[in-house]
Every structure is written in structure tokens, then in C-alpha cells.
């Protein structure tokens, strides 16, 4: 059983003459007009640069790279994020670390924002909680292609310390 819809006959002279329906339409539009004009309550507009809609906590914004306790990058250049990335926007060049407890670190870590689709797969793939998209920022637009490639230093500048144990939990 569907919901019965009231379909008035189109032969009804009050409908064929348009006028009552036009008056009803005018009533609706003037209701909005005068309500908004005098009370100012019905507006749905946000004055964008000044007023903003709050982003959800899980909003995927600009990337950042997390740091270890001593301030070095958490990333171990395992290429998991590069493999997971559907847009192929991450470029890592791995290098050997001086620290004997760390095998590799990323000498270059770049994200091409012209390619990135902010899917968050890199974040999910990362075993070290090194890359995150939780800054809640829009990536700012740029004038050149080079400007839109974010380097490791920029990513690290936004990074904080992760509470997760380095290297994940072994089972």
C-alpha cells in the first residue's frame, strides 16, 4: 500500500483559471519574503570567509607527518602508503638511517596535492601512525604546480607526537 496522493482534477475551473493557485503561490513567497525581511530568521546563508561551517572531527584535511619522541620523523619509508594510494600522489625516497635501531627513513616525502583525492587510504595503510589527514585544514590553493607539492619539512611542521608505540604492536 503506497501513500495515496491527493491529485485534484485538472478540469476543476479554479485550477484551470490559474488565479487561486497563483494567489497561493504569492502567499508562500510573500510569507518567506516578509518573515526574512522583518525577523531575519529564515536565512540559510553563511557569510563564508567570516562564518564557517564546523568540520566533522573525522574530516580528512591536509596531511601531516607525525614525529617520534626525539622529534625525528616516525615514517620508516616502508612504501605502504605509496602502494595503497589510488591517485599515486606520494613520492618517497628512502635512505639509510645513522641510528642503528632504525633501518630506513624517508629522505624525500612529497605529496602532490594536484593528484591527491583525500581518500585517507595512506592513513589506514600506515603501520607506524606516521601520516595523518587530521589537521582539519583545507589545502590552500597555489599559483604554480611546484607550490602544490607539499615537502617533508612542511608535513613535519604540522606534525605532533603520536601516542602509538613505534613500529606497531607485534602479535
Amino acid at each position: 500500500m503506497g501513500k495515496p496522493v491527493n491529485r485534484p482534477s485538472l478540469d476543476d475551473p479554479s485550477i484551470r483559471s490559474y488565479l487561486p493557485e497563483v494567489l497561493r503561490g504569492i502567499k508562500t513567497t510573500s510569507k518567506h519574503f516578509f518573515r526574512n525581511l522583518f525577523t531575519g530568521k529564515g536565512y540559510a546563508t553563511k557569510q563564508y570567509p567570516e562564518e564557517r561551517f564546523p568540520y566533522a572531527p573525522r574530516y580528512r584535511g591536509a596531511h601531516r607527518l607525525m614525529k617520534r619522541e626525539d622529534g625525528r620523523v616516525r615514517c620508516v619509508a616502508c612504501y605502504m602508503c605509496v602502494t595503497a594510494c589510488p591517485a599515486d600522489c606520494i613520492r618517497i625516497v628512502a635512505a639509510e638511517s645513522d641510528d642503528p635501531t632504525i633501518e630506513k627513513y624517508p629522505a624525500v616525502f612529497e605529496i602532490d596535492h594536484l593528484k591527491c583525492i583525500f581518500c585517507g587510504f595512506c592513513e589506514e595503510a600506515c603501520p607506524c601512525d606516521a601520516i595523518r589527514l587530521d589537521t582539519g585544514e583545507h589545502r590552500a590553493p597555489g599559483y604554480t604546480r611546484e607550490e602544490l607539492i607539499t615537502r617533508k619539512e612542511q608535513l613535519l611542521a604540522k606534525g605532533g607526537q603520536s601516542l602509538a608505540p613505534q613500529g606497531g604492536i607485534y602479535r
Binding site: L19, V22, G25, I26, T28, T29, S30, H32, F33, N36, L37, G42, Y43, A44, T45, Q47
Partner: protein, 346 residues
């Protein structure tokens, strides 16, 4: 000689004042009102970013910004256009509605009307008919098929609705027995049945509705915006840019003012305030109030036209023609016949 000069000077002064008030102020203001009012009706805020020295004034500077933009844009003339007609069309479209203000009485007595024509209403209809040439020539001379379609639609629509618009006014003239707009307003100061002001809307209620509908169609605005038809053919002004386009744009708004002024004069009693000095020989305060009353009526009709424009979706083209020829025309004729019979037996 000096007397003739005086008359000419006074007439010129009136022309300047009225053109300034109605064309520049009301016309430009209406483009702001249109954007702002549509926004408020649709629960938006509308334009409010144009600012002079940080003062935004609810977007009132947008018409100025639009005007400056129109003046500095490239004035493009298509290669296949007829250059003379292409340049002439916006001028016709812009001036024709302005000329109508010559016969509209803004207040009681001779000082408030530029030209007291005995056949004032015929003049209005003739000049309104001239306005078609703006749209028709504009579309035809641009050398663009879609613009030509727009101008064909414009001429077909305006010819169709001109007929019922004129016929609806006939009913009013039969009741009041005059074609002069000033005399028409004076006669509307009489009282009907002892309590009702004898305004056109009360003696010709059907005529009022039909006239307003036909006038809206004359005006080429939604729900009758087929000549423009933005979503299908872009319209007769397709090839126009810069200030020429702005002239077409402004002429549309001035036509709104013209139609409101004519409606207020013929159907809403012009400058008459009910029961107050109907002969217009009151003291200066009353005269001022009467001019303001006329302006208030014009603004009310403009509000009504704007609200209708932002309420109704547009008609299909065959519906426009059907409404014009099959509904409005027979009803206007019937209205005249009924009026004649009633007048014959009173």
C-alpha cells in the same frame, strides 16, 4: 517669446527630474531589488559585498559596480551584424519606455505632468508598441539564429498581448469616458455606492487582472520570459555585450516601472488619496502627500510584479500563445460587452 521659452524650460526641467527619478534611480534600484528580493524570497541573503570605504549598505553599491563594469567591458559587434540596426536597437528599447512617462500624471494639476495629451492612453499604447522594435531589431540585426528566434518570439508575444492589453483599457475608458490620463485620475476621485472610491480596479476588477497579466507578458519577464528564454535560446540580446546589453537590461526594469505607473494611474486611482481633495486643489501638504501616494501605489504594483516573477515558473511557448489568444482575448472582449450592457442600462 519669453513665455514660450519659459514653457520649454519648465518642460525640460520636468523631463530631467522625471528621467532621473524613474530611469536612473528606480531602474538601477530595481536591478538591486530584483537580486535582493529574489534572495530574500529564497531564504538567501543576496548581494552584499560591493563596498565603498568599507560601507556595504546592503549591497546598494552593486548597481554602481555593475554600471562601471558594463562601461569598461569590450563593446563587441559581430561580423555578420547589421551595424546600424545593431547600434540602434538598444537605444530604441531604452528610450521607448522612458517616453511613456511624458503623459503620466504624478500629482494633481499641470505641474506634475510633462505633456497633457487628450489622447494620453493612446500615446502610451503607441509608444509601448514601439518598444517591440528594440527587441525585434536587436535579435534580427545580430546575425545569430538564436537571437533571431528570440526576436521572433518577442514580436509574436508582444503583438498578441498588445491586443488584449488595449482591449482591457477600453473597458475603463467606457466607464470614465475619457482618454486623457489626467482627467481619468480626476474622475477616479468620485465615490461609488457612497463608500467605495471609484477606482478602476473597483469598476473593472476583471479588466484589472487581465490588464496586469497582459502587461506582464508585454514586459518579457518571467513567467512570460520566452523572448529571453535563458535556458533554451538565450534570447534576442544574445550577441550584445557591455553597455548595450546593460541598456536592454535597464529597459526591462524601466518597463516594470512604466507598467506599474500606468496600472496605478488607470486602475488604482493615480495620485488620489480616497476622499481627500479629489479635485487636487488642496494645500501644499496634501499635494505632497498625493504625489507620495502615487509613488506608493507604483511601488506596490512593482512589488506585486516582482513577487509574481519570483513565484511562478515560466510558461511553455505554446501555452503563452494559447493564453494570449484563447483566454485573455475572449475574456477582454466579453468584459467590454458586459461593461457596455451595464452602462447602457444605468
Amino acid at each position: 517669446m519669453s513665455e514660450a521659452l519659459q514653457i520649454i524650460l519648465i518642460a525640460c526641467l520636468k523631463v530631467v527630474v522625471i528621467c532621473f527619478v524613474f530611469a536612473l534611480v528606480l531602474g538601477a534600484l530595481l536591478s538591486w531589488v530584483e537580486r535582493k528580493m529574489s534572495a530574500v524570497i529564497q531564504d538567501r541573503i543576496g548581494p552584499n559585498r560591493a563596498a565603498i570605504l568599507g560601507i556595504r549598505a546592503y549591497g546598494l553599491f552593486h548597481p554602481i559596480a555593475d554600471g562601471i563594469k558594463a562601461l569598461v567591458k569590450e563593446d563587441f559587434v559581430p561580423e555578420k551584424a547589421n551595424k546600424v540596426l545593431f547600434a540602434l536597437a538598444p537605444v530604441i528599447a531604452f528610450t521607448a519606455p522612458l517616453v511613456v512617462f511624458a503623459v503620466i500624471p504624478f500629482g494633481p494639476g499641470a505641474p506634475f505632468v510633462i505633456a497633457e495629451l487628450d489622447s494620453g492612453m493612446l500615446f502610451v499604447l503607441a509608444i509601448a508598441g514601439l518598444g517591440i522594435y528594440g527587441a525585434t531589431l536587436g535579435g534580427w540585426s545580430s546575425g545569430n539564429s538564436f537571437a533571431l528566434l528570440g526576436s521572433l518570439r518577442a514580436s509574436a508575444q508582444m503583438i498578441s498581448y498588445e491586443v488584449s492589453m488595449g482591449l482591457n483599457l477600453v473597458g475603463v475608458f467606457m466607464v470614465f469616458g475619457t482618454l486623457s490620463l489626467s482627467a481619468l485620475v480626476l474622475k477616479q476621485g468620485e465615490v461609488l455606492f457612497g463608500f467605495l472610491p471609484k477606482w478602476g480596479i473597483f469598476v473593472q476588477p476583471v479588466g484589472f487582472i487581465l490588464f496586469l497579466t497582459a502587461a506582464m507578458a508585454e514586459n518579457k519577464r518571467a513567467p512570460f520570459d520566452l523572448p529571453e528564454g535563458e535556458s533554451e535560446i538565450v534570447g534576442y540580446n544574445l550577441e550584445y555585450s557591455s553597455m548595450r546589453f546593460a541598456l536592454f537590461f535597464l529597459s526591462e526594469f524601466i518597463e516594470v516601472v512604466v507598467i506599474s505607473a500606468v496600472t496605478a494611474t488607470v486602475f488604482l486611482g493615480g495620485w488620489q488619496i480616497p476622499f481627500v481633495y479629489p479635485q487636487g486643489n488642496g494645500p501644499a501638504v496634501v499635494t505632497t502627500l498625493q504625489v507620495l501616494a502615487f509613488l506608493a501605489k507604483v511601488v506596490f504594483v512593482m512589488w506585486l510584479l516582482m513577487t509574481v516573477r519570483w513565484t511562478l515558473p515560466r510558461f511553455r511557448y505554446d501555452q503563452v500563445m494559447g493564453l494570449g489568444w484563447k483566454v485573455l482575448l475572449p475574456l477582454s472582449l466579453a468584459n467590454i460587452v458586459v461593461t457596455a450592457i451595464v452602462l447602457a442600462f444605468i
